[in-house]
Every structure is written in structure tokens, then in C-alpha cells.
């Protein structure tokens, strides 16, 4: 095997094994950051040895053994340091026996539990959102620092620093390597969802012409979401999030032109929507709904996305249902942006005037002051009502507010078209 080929093969094995490896080692050393370094050491050993010796028959077991040895060495070294302190040096032998027993437990332990512990740790609220995202992709997505840096348009040393700081924070704050229980679970789960959805959206807003690493973030997020769905199958929102991402990803071929221009949902060629992903999304939504309970924000957004996915042509869209789902979403997760979306749905279901009344109620909303979609939506509704002069002003305002060049060109053009023929 060529050296490059074997390096690529080892990278692929790492991608598959790293999370399980880090999870098992973290269970032993009780420190996710340290576990990642020990697992990395095992990878380095593989990269040194395998190109000559060939890839072992069971590379996963090889890496696990190598990482486990490093973890044990680390524990022994720590113990030696500890024995120098009298109060800790008493029953070294018993402790070592315990460590060995712990270790076997950890390795026999359900892989899934360790992965869950790892995901909760990487998404811990003591970390900044950026740190959670980077650490999740590193520890669970098997991405390299260079890959994450490229995907987020950050310099590699800066991203490496971000990860180092995140690991240090976890150690300093003594974040336990555990799955949270009871009341804490809901909060911690929502942090996990937030991180995965952030990763997804980072890829979703990247345009087709951009670096494929950015676009691939959607696939990384989907992979994490599917993984989480099999790790915590009793949580309705886990399936809601997976459903939302699957359905949104189903439109990726249709939603951006090859020039990077956005194609609006209603103008998309639905024949390009990926039916496999739609099918998977609808199935995940079914699972979420079947688990019952109050419908959360991801399940509701998935239900809205499903309304679009089920309509074979834009004219068949069930806008009344979408408007009702937005009202439910606004109750669960109130936000002016949700309210703006509800206004659009209401306008489609009950006419532009009904929508405009809802939009006008948002005009004094401070958080939307610089949000280009507010004047853009308002302009659209005014245009439908034949109030072209007012519409033109709104489109111009929207054009001035957007940071996206393609979108600005689109809005400037719409403003120009607002003339009485």
C-alpha cells in the first residue's frame, strides 16, 4: 500500500473509531480533554507503525488497546506523584487493583453510554457556544483541527487555541464525565441540540461555490443527529431535531443556484428535493410525535418543514396548518423571527392584509431593527396589496440591511420593479 493511501485509510478508521475511543478512555481517566490526547497518541502510533506493518485485522481493537495502555501509564504516573503526598499514598496496591477493575468496567461498559457522556461534556454550558461547537466536532465528529478551522473560516492556530482553552475549562471546572439526570437533563439536552443545529446551519448557510468543507458541516451535523437519535431514542426532541435537519437537507440541490443565489422555497424545483432524506425526515418526525408529550421547538419546526415536503407543488402547501404550527412554536419558543414567519404563513393562508397586520405589530421590535427580512417580507406583502411605492421603500431598506451581496442584488432588483406599469 502506498504511504498516502494508508494514511487516508487510517484517517477513515479514526473518523469511525475516535468518538468511541475517546469515550472509553474518558471513562477511565475522567477527563474528556485528556482522553482525547491519549487517543490521539494511539493514532500517532498507528500512523507510524501501520504503513510498514500493514493495517491490523481489527484496527479498532488495536487502537483501543494502545489508548488503554496510555491511559494506564497515565494513571500509574499520577499514582506515583500522589504517593509522594503521604495522605494519598496509603493503599497504593488496593487502588491499583481498583483502577484495573474500573478499567475493565469502562471498556465493557455500554459504548453508547460513554458516547452520551462525551456529547454532554463537549456541549457543557460552562463552555462558550463556539467552544462547544469546535469540541463536539473534534471529539464526536472525528474532524481534525485543520478541518474545523477551514469549515468555520478561522485560522488554524486560533481554533487550536479555542479547543485547548475549552479542554482546560472542563478540567478546571471539574465537569464530571456523566449523563445529567433529573431536572438538569432537559437543559443539558437543549444545549446539545443547539450545538448540533448550529453546526448544521453553519453548513446550510454556506453557498454552493464555497469550500466544500463548509457545506459538509450539514452532513457532520446530520451524522451527529442520527447518532444521538440512536443513543437517546426516548427523547422526542432528539427525533424532532433529526427530522428537521433531514428535511432541510433534502432541499439542498434546489435552494442555491450555481452562482450562489438563493432560490426561495416556493420557487424551488421540487423534483430536485431528495426523497430519501424526506422519507427519513418524515419517519423521524413520526417517531417524535409517537413518543407523545408536549411538542418541542425542533419537532414543531420539523412539522412545519414536513408540510412543505409533503406538498408536491407549492400551490398544494397547507398554509393554514403551517400558520397554526407557527402559533404553537411561538408559544413554546417565543421570538420575533418566529412571529415574522407566522405572519408570512398567515398571509399565505388568509391573504396579504392579515399578514401585514402581524408584520406591522413587529415594526417597533428592537431586536428586528436591523433584520433585513422584516422590510423584505413587508415589501412583499405591500407589493401583493398593490401599494408599490411603499413596497419599493421597504425593498430598498432591506437591500441596505443585508450583508449578503447576492441577496442585496436580488432586493435592489425587486425595488426597481415596484413601478406602476
Amino acid at each position: 500500500m502506498e504511504e498516502n493511501d494508508s494514511h487516508r485509510a487510517i484517517e477513515a478508521i479514526w473518523r469511525i473509531e475516535s468518538a468511541r475511543l475517546i469515550g472509553a478512555i474518558a471513562r477511565i481517566v475522567r477527563d474528556a480533554g485528556l482522553a482525547e490526547e491519549l487517543a490521539q497518541d494511539a493514532l500517532v502510533a498507528a500512523l507510524e507503525q501501520w504503513p510498514d506493518s500493514g493495517i491490523p485485522r481489527n484496527p479498532a481493537a488495536w487502537l483501543m488497546t494502545a489508548a488503554k495502555h496510555r491511559a494506564l501509564d497515565h494513571l500509574r504516573r499520577n499514582k506515583r506523584i500522589q504517593t509522594k503526598h503521604e495522605e494519598l499514598g496509603r493503599d497504593l496496591e488496593a487502588r491499583q487493583r481498583m483502577a484495573a477493575a474500573d478499567l475493565d468496567d469502562a471498556l465493557d461498559d455500554d459504548i453508547g453510554d460513554n458516547l452520551l457522556r462525551l456529547i454532554f461534556t463537549a456541549c457543557h454550558p460552562v463552555l462558550t457556544p463556539e467552544a462547544r461547537v469546535a469540541l463536539t466536532l473534534r471529539l464526536l465528529g472525528g474532524l481534525t483541527t485543520a478541518e474545523i478551522a477551514r469549515a468555520f473560516l478561522v485560522a488554524e492556530p486560533a481554533l487550536a487555541q479555542r479547543i485547548v482553552r475549552a479542554k482546560r475549562t472542563l478540567t478546571e471546572r471539574q465537569v464530571p464525565f456523566e449523563v445529567p439526570r433529573g431536572e438538569e437533563l432537559a437543559n443539558r439536552l437543549s444545549s446539545v441540540f443547539e450545538v448540533i443545529y448550529l453546526i448544521f446551519n453553519e453548513g446550510y448557510t454556506a453557498t454552493a461555490g464555497e469550500d466544500w468543507m463548509r457545506v459538509a458541516l450539514c452532513e457532520d451535523a446530520l451524522r451527529l443527529g442520527r447518532m444521538l437519535a440512536s443513543l437517546a431514542p426516548d427523547e422526542p426532541e432528539v427525533h424532532g431535531l433529526a427530522a428537521l435537519m433531514e428535511i432541510q437537507a433534502s432541499r439542498s440541490r434546489a435552494r442555491v443556484s450555481h452562482l450562489g443565489e438563493p432560490i426561495l422555497l416556493l420557487a424551488q424545483n421540487r423534483a430536485l428535493w431528495d426523497q430519501l432524506l424526506i422519507h427519513r425526515g418524515l419517519a423521524a418526525l413520526e417517531r417524535s410525535l409517537a413518543l407523545g408529550g408536549a411538542r418541542g421547538r425542533y419537532t414543531l419546526q420539523a412539522a412545519i418543514a414536513a408540510c412543505h415536503a409533503r406538498a408536491r407543488v407549492a400551490e398544494e402547501t397547507d398554509w393554514a396548518r403551517i400558520a397554526a404550527l407557527y402559533a404553537e412554536l411561538a408559544a413554546v419558543a417565543p421570538s420575533p423571527v418566529v412571529e415574522l414567519n407566522r405572519a408570512v404563513a398567515v398571509s399565505m393562508a388568509s391573504g396579504p392584509l392579515a399578514g401585514l397586520n402581524l408584520v406591522d405589530a413587529l415594526l417597533l421590535e428592537p431586536s428586528l431593527e436591523n433584520y433585513h427580512l422584516l422590510p423584505s417580507v413587508r415589501g412583499d406583502l405591500l407589493a401583493k396589496l398593490g401599494r408599490l411605492e411603499e413596497a419599493r421603500i421597504e425593498f430598498e431598506r432591506a437591500a441596505a440591511l443585508t450583508g449578503n451581496l447576492r441577496e442585496r442584488a436580488f432586493l435592489v432588483n425587486r425595488a426597481k420593479l415596484m413601478k406602476i406599469p
Binding site: 477513515a12 473518523r15 451524522r223 440512536s230 443556484s257 424551488q268 424545483n269 423534483a271
Partner: protein, 134 residues
Amino acid sequence: MRFMMLMLPKGYENAAPGTLPDLKAIATMRKYNEDLGKAGVLLALDGVHPPSMGARVTFSGGKAQVTDGPFAEAKEVFGGFWILQVKSREEAIEWAMRCPASDNETIEIRQVIEFTDFPAEVQAEMQKAFGEPS
């Protein structure tokens, strides 16, 4: 990127109608499929009945002709497929290598053509054409 893993079991080209894998093979394969699912890489999978239950439609001079299976000239036929979403060709190969397949089975790995593999003009044309249900 997506890859299709095609399972090519030797002898399947001549298998009698209704031939199914034995229970033990199903159990080991189920574990493998679960692992693919847990890793978040599995998009779809299915098995297909042997060619003796199928047919071939061949085209010549604008005319279609139907031949019932089994097909005398077929040396290998596929018996099932998986569709995986992975980061690289090497990752697809690594997953295939972990399949608990038996001695007379081969897995062929083929990359799925993505929309963005087409030239820009073709993409634009496909996005324009309005999706009337066909």
C-alpha cells in the same frame, strides 16, 4: 458524499425463487446494520429477491424486449445494497471491510453521483425545469 455498497453473493444468479438468507446470517447482518445506524452513516438498505423472480428489459432499435429471469449470461448479480453517507471513499471501504460477509460474497463500492458533480449549466437547467409531477 454517498456510497452504495452492493452485495454480490456468488451463486445468487441461479438461486431458486424465494431463496432467503439463513437465520444466522440475518442475525449477524442485523448487528452490522445496527452499527451502521448507530454511527449515523446509514441512509438506506434493502435486499432483493434472486433474478429467477425478476426480469430484464432490453432495448434495441427503439424497442423494448422482456426476458424473464434467471439470466443465463449473468456471472454475478447483486443481492442487496446499502447507501452510506461518509467523509471519504476510504471510509466507505472501511465500513465494507467490517461487513460479516461469508466466503462467497463480494461487496462492490460505488460512489453516488451528486448534483454538484454535474456541470454548472446542467445544474442550472435542472433547477429551472419546474417539477411537475411526472
